[in-house]
Every structure is written in C-alpha cells, then in structure tokens.
C-alpha cells in the first residue's frame, strides 16, 4: 500500500465516521426545512463517497467488482432524494420556529408560531433547493446521461460524449436515402485517382514480370550450358588422370634409365664441368668483345 492509498483510505474512514466527531462541522438546523435539507446534504455526501470508491477501484486498474452494487445504491439514493425534493419545496414555504434549545428548555414545549416567511428568504430557499437538485443530478451513478442542451463533458481522449442510437427505422437513416449512393465531386476524384494509381501499378508489375521472365530464361540457358560443360569436364578429368599416371610412370622410367646410363655422382661431376667450361667460354667471349 503506497502513501496515496493510505491517504485516501484515511479520508474515506474520516468521512465515514464524521458523524461521531465531537466537534460537528455545522450546527443542527432548527426547523423542518433545514432539518430535511441537512439530511439530504448528508445523503448526497455519502452517495459521493460511494461514487469515489467506485472510481478508486477503477483507477487502481481492472474491473471494480463492487461497482454494480455501489452504483445501484447510488441510483437508489438519488431516486429517494429526488422524491424528497417536493417535500423540501413544501417545507420551504413554511417557516418553523425552532423547538427550542433541547437541553436548556425542559419546562414547556415550544409553541410554533407560524409566521409568514419573507419573500427574500423564500427565494433564497428556492435557490438552495435548485442547487441541491443540481448536486443530486451531478452524482455519478455509472449511467451515461443524455444532457440535452447542457454542456457536454469531454473524456480523457478529448472527445465529446456521443449519443449512440441504434434505430433502423428513422427517416433520416442513410441507407434509405437514395442520394447517399450518388457520386459527389470528391468521390469522383477519389475514384479517378484510384484508377490511375492502379494503372501505374499494373504497368510497373508488367515491367517486373518481363524482367523476371528474362531472368528465368537466362537461368534456364545457363543451367543447360552447365549441364553440357559438366560432361565435358568429367571427360577431361578422366583423361587428365590417365595422362598423369602415364607421366609418372614415364618419369620413373627416365630416372631409372639415367641412373643406369650414368650414376648420380658422375652426373653432378658432368654438370659441374659443363658449367666451368661455359664460364671459361663466356670469359673469353667477353675478353674478345
């Protein structure tokens, strides 16, 4: 539980048990109108708390399991309050004296002297009743209200609450209106653009198809040529193998022949002597040049 949760929980508890506070917020009213008004205000507050509870559950994420029950209670409370409003209106016309201070006046019952109520006070009471009614109506009870002509609240997305009505039989329905299906300038333009884009795409696809065709043809020809070459190369490989073997055997025979003709030591001697002779010959040539 984080600090926010603790804070809201404390607030909820305080509001719930506010009635048991030693220091009441306001003094108890002294006449029936005020009495009823105070009572109704208290009910409105409790209904608001219930609505806040629903919202809190929702904000925490997920579905609020107690939302239907609480919303039902709120709606019942609202209905009760709305029923009490005419009573309040009747009481507003009467001005009742207070019963007296309850603690100090034990001796006699206070006589209620019904005086005529001031028009100003009546007007004031009527205004308070109207405020009260507005406050009752404002209590969120989970129902989307159609606010006819009132200022619409916008939700988080910034969209206005749209009044959705499913009604196929009204005359204003678009499906029964023949002019709905006719071309407008905009739709005509759009259709032309669509056709042109489609034609361009078709042309490009044709070009691509030609290219792919050519590639396919080339690949096929290359594959056939490689098949031919493969046979040639394998024949050549066989022949080269034969030639290699023959060369090796010829070399071996030559080596043997050379050894038999002259030993390797003599051969080296021969080679050395030849080189010396060539060197002498080159020296003489250089001298004579």
């Amino acid at each position: 539980m984080d600090i926010y949760d603790i804070e809201t929980r404390i607030g909820t508890l305080v509001n719930k048990y506010k009635a048991y506070d030693d220091a009441p917020k306001k003094e108890r009213p002294l006449d029936a109108f005020e009495d009823l008004y105070f009572h109704m205000e208290g009910t409105i507050d409790s209904l608001h708390h219930k609505a806040e509870e629903v919202q809190l559950e929702r904000n925490r994420g997920g579905q609020a399991a107690n939302a239907p029950r609480l919303n039902a209670e709120i709606r019942r409370g609202k209905a009760q309050l709305l029923q009490d409003l005419p009573k309040l209106l009747k009481l507003a016309k009467k001005k009742g004296k207070s019963k007296g201070k309850p603690k100090t006046d034990d001796q006699g019952s206070s006589l209620r002297q019904s005086k005529g109520i001031d028009p100003q006070e009546l007007e004031e009471r009527h205004r308070r009743i109207a405020d009260l009614e507005a406050r009752i109506q404002e209590i969120p009870d989970g129902v989307l209200m159609s606010t006819n002509g009132d200022k619409k609240k916008s939700n988080i997305l910034g969209l206005n609450n749209i009044d959705i009505r499913i009604d196929a039989m009204t005359e204003a329905s678009t499906s029964r209106d023949p002019s709905y299906y006719e071309h407008t300038e905009e739709s005509r333009n759009f259709k032309n653009e669509f056709e042109m884009a489609k034609a361009r795409q078709d042309e490009s696809l044709d070009e691509i198809s030609k290219g792919v065709d050519t590639l396919r043809n080339l690949a096929g020809d290359m594959s056939e040529e490689i098949g031919k070459q493969e046979d040639l190369v394998s024949t050549m490989e066989q022949r080269m193998d034969t030639v290699n073997t023959e060369m090796r055997s010829v070399n071996a025979r030559l080596k043997q022949t050379l050894f038999s003709v002259r030993s390797s030591r003599d051969l080296c001697m021969d080679v050395t002597l030849i080189c010396i002779l060539l060197g002498i010959g080159a020296y003489i040539y250089n001298q004579l040049k």
Binding site: S209, K210, D213, T214, N217, G220, D221, S223, E224, G227, K228, D231
Partner: protein, 327 residues
C-alpha cells in the same frame, strides 16, 4: 618453280617405286608434303594446297596414323571448297575424314568434322550442308553425346529457315526437341516445340496450319511441355489462328515475352506472322472451333481456299437476312 612445287616433286620422288627404291618412303615424304601444303596455302594456291594436303593425309594413313590423316583431309576439304572443286568432292573429303576419325576411335571428332564440313558448304549448297549436319547429329547420338549435337541442330535449322524450307525446319526442330529431352534440357525442348509450330505456320497460304495444330496436340502430351509458358503461348497462337483473327495473332506474338526468348531466326519468322493470304483470312471469318481436331481444321482450311469465290455470295445472303429482319 615455286618452293611448294619443289617440295612436292621431292616428295613424289620419295614415294615412287624405282629401281633404287623398292618401296615408297612414306616417312621421308610426309614432312615434304606437309611443308609443300603450307607453302601453297601461304602463297594462295589453294587448289595445289588441297592436293598436297590430300597426299599428306594418304601418307599418314600409310604410316598408320589415321587421326593426323583425318586432320589433313579436313584442311584439304576447306581449301577445296574455295578452289572450285565440286560439291560432291568437298563432301567426300569430310566424310572420309570422319571415317578416319572413327578408325582412330574418336567418334566425336568425326562428328565434329562433319559439322565443320556442313558449315563450310552452307554458302555453296544447302542440301549437302544439311546432309552433313544430319550425319553429324546421328554420329553424336551414336556416341551418346547428344548435347554436342545441339549446335549442329541449330546451324541446320538456321540454314533451312534461310532457304525457306519451313517444313524441313519444323521436322528438324522436333528432332532437336527429342535430343534435348535426352539431355534433360527442358527449356530448349519447349522452345524447340514452339519454334516448330512457328515454322509450320510460316508456310505460305496456311498450308502448315493443320500440322501445327496436330503438333500442339502431340506436344501437350509431353510432360516437360505441358506446364510450360511455351505451351500457353503456343495454345494462344493456335487459337488465334483458329479464330482467323489477324490482330489477335499479331498481338499474341508482340505481347507475349515467350516469343522474345526464341532464336533470332525463329523470332524473325514469328514477327512476320500471319503469312499467307490475308484477304482470305479476313473475308471468310469462320466460327470459333473449340475442337482443334484435324478434321474440323482441314475443313476450315479448305473453306479458306474457297473463301475468295464464295465471299460475294455470303455478303448477299447477309443482306437478304437483314432485309428480312427489317420486315
């Protein structure tokens, strides 16, 4: 006397039997003959060079080297063609060379020799050249080297198309396709079938149309051809012909990329399609026959032949029909 002549006379003296020489000295004569031939060729005496090469070849034969003998005969043949020998003589040079190669156990070389002979004679006599090409092809087949025959086939077909022997070209194409199927060259095979059909359709006056149609039917039974793009192109073309729609024929050839990939000579033929009497094609529109059977098309081609005479009759009857409808 030129050097070549001197060498030749020396060589001749080596091989003639005389009192002092009881048997010809082939080994000594050979280099003399070869050098003489080279001298003659350099100096431009091609006839004499051919003779010298022939003698050198004979010497090589005597010395037991048929391969060299065959090589000399080939050189002799090429020079003979340029020096006014008859076609039969030139042809005989190459066939003898081939026989010598076979003797040497080199069948493929023999076939190559025949192929070269064909190429040499192309410009002189197309029949002889075609014969040599076909012999080369047969030899390749006997050797089991079909893929070497493809070039000879192509050369033969180009020759036939140049000389406008379309029916022979078409039949050669079919043989070519058969050789391709043996080597597994499917693309060439399909192209050969399509080319054969085009060759038949190139015959004047639509004489080859029934054959082309039959060919299509037969070729479609071949697995390699059935699913190919060439088969589709061929079917479109034959259908356009069956409808006698000139524009459709030309459009089919122009638009379809398949035709662009054929050999150049075949493509040239295809671009000229439809050949034949365009007037008869247009004036006698025949109903589209979905059946490409021989009988229906022979009937139609017969009708096309009669089209010229019967067209006025057809026009009058249609006028009558119109008048009747108006009434």
């Amino acid at each position: 006397m030129s050097e070549g002549d001197k060498l030749m006379s020396k060589a001749e003296s080596k091989v003639t039997v005389s009192l002092f020489r009881w048997s010809p000295d082939w080994e000594a004569a050979l280099p003399l003959y070869e050098q003489a031939a080279q001298k003659y060729r350099i100096s431009g005496a091609k006839g004499k060079a051919a003779v010298a090469y022939e003698k050198a070849s004979f010497t090589q034969e005597k010395l037991g080297s048929p391969w060299h003998a065959a090589k000399h005969l080939e050189s002799a043949g090429m020079l003979a063609k340029e020096s006014g020998y008859t076609v039969a003589e030139v042809e005989s040079f190459f066939t003898r060379a081939c026989a010598l190669y076979l003797e040497a156990g080199r069948g493929q070389a023999g076939a190559d020799a025949l192929s070269r002979g064909g190429k040499t004679l192309e410009s002189v006599n197309s029949d002889a050249a075609y014969r040599l090409y076909m012999e080369a092809v047969e030899m390749y087949q006997n050797e089991g080297k079909d893929h070497f025959s493809l070039d000879s086939f192509r050369a033969a077909i180009n020759l036939l198309i140049r000389t406008e022997r379309f029916e022979d070209a078409a039949t050669t194409q079919l043989r070519f396709a058969e050789a391709c199927s043996r080597t597994g060259a499917k693309q060439s095979q399909c192209k050969a079938y399509l080319s054969a059909m085009i060759a038949w359709l190139s015959e004047p006056d639509l004489k080859g149309l029934p054959e082309a149609t039959n060919c299509l039917q037969d070729c479609l039974a071949v697995d390699a051809f059935y699913g190919s793009v060439e088969a589709r192109a061929a079917a479109d073309l034959i259908e356009a012909y069956a409808r006698r729609d000139v524009e459709a024929i030309q459009k089919c050839i122009k638009d379809d990329n398949t035709f662009q990939h054929l050999d150049t000579s075949i493509l040239r033929l295809a671009r000229k399609l439809p050949t034949g009497d365009l007037g008869s094609l247009q004036q006698a529109p025949l109903p589209l026959s979905s059946d490409f059977g021989t009988s229906s098309l022979q009937h139609q081609s017969g009708a096309v032949g009669r089209g010229q005479q019967s067209s006025p009759a057809i026009e009058t009857t249609t006028d009558d029909i119109d008048e009747d409808n108006l009434c």
